[in-house]
Symmetry: C2
Subunit: 146 residues, 2 copies
């Protein structure tokens, strides 16, 4: 697993309230369905419903402020097989796999694990997000793809 | 507030256990007192005691898996006065200031606020971390400074 974080997802209870808060702070994102994506340097920050995040991560209790606390980090990789490699490495390292790698609705492939304190990591291959040589990723212009 | 995340701090209950976990995943960090710092691209990932993090952020309940969930994001700024500006902007936007900006033990200046869902942000001016034009920061070599 390379020493990188690709995305930070904040689980929220009211997407519009949260979007407004960050907008007041000067942040400009792209709303895609029930998700808001912000390009924050080489990192991507995402606002997503806490229930949806917990379900996607295969983690119970996140919606009630459990050990996840409604935050997930993501580590994006360059190819599909690397998802299995990283999730297996996390399991070998003592992590708990909460969601085995599987096809995703956006045409990618992803799984989740938790570190010893329950911090959630998604390991994802997303062919729609271009990755630079150094591993940083850039949001597509969702509007032009719709 | 610029559209950037400078650091992600994971609150942990056993620093050695967590350091070992990430080391098994191939991550190499710098241990400074009771903290481990990893350069992860333009981002910095930090492992820090959950109790210490909660106390520093002025947030109660974080150690028991409360709304913070033991994760804090940091937004580093270019000068001391910008800390006050960003914390004030967050308050005006409807955020809760959990720790008013104050001098820090490392010679910097920092405060904390929470977004509508309780996600914790530190706003920090740290003269020891050099910042590039694009706002990304780089860890110093702590060993050479000791």
């Amino acid at each position: 697993m390379e020493q990188r974080v690709s995305m930070v997802t904040l689980g929220v209870t009211d997407l519009e309230r949260s979007r407004t808060f960050y907008e007041r702070l000067g942040w400009r994102g792209q709303t895609v369905q029930r998700t808001v994506f912000y390009q924050a340097g080489g990192l991507i920050v995402v606002l997503w419903g806490r229930e949806d995040l917990a379900a996607d991560a295969g983690v119970r209790g996140a919606s009630s402020g459990g050990p996840v606390g409604g935050v997930a980090l993501a580590h994006n990789v360059r190819c599909r097989s690397e998802v299995d490699e990283v999730v297996n490495a996390a399991e070998s390292a003592g992590g708990e796999v909460t969601s085995r790698p599987a096809e995703t609705f956006y045409g990618g492939y992803a799984g989740y694990f938790r570190d010893p304190d329950g911090h959630v990591w998604e390991v994802a291959w997303n062919p729609g997000f271009s990755m630079r040589e150094d591993g940083s990723i850039t949001l597509p212009d969702f509007a032009s793809e719709a």
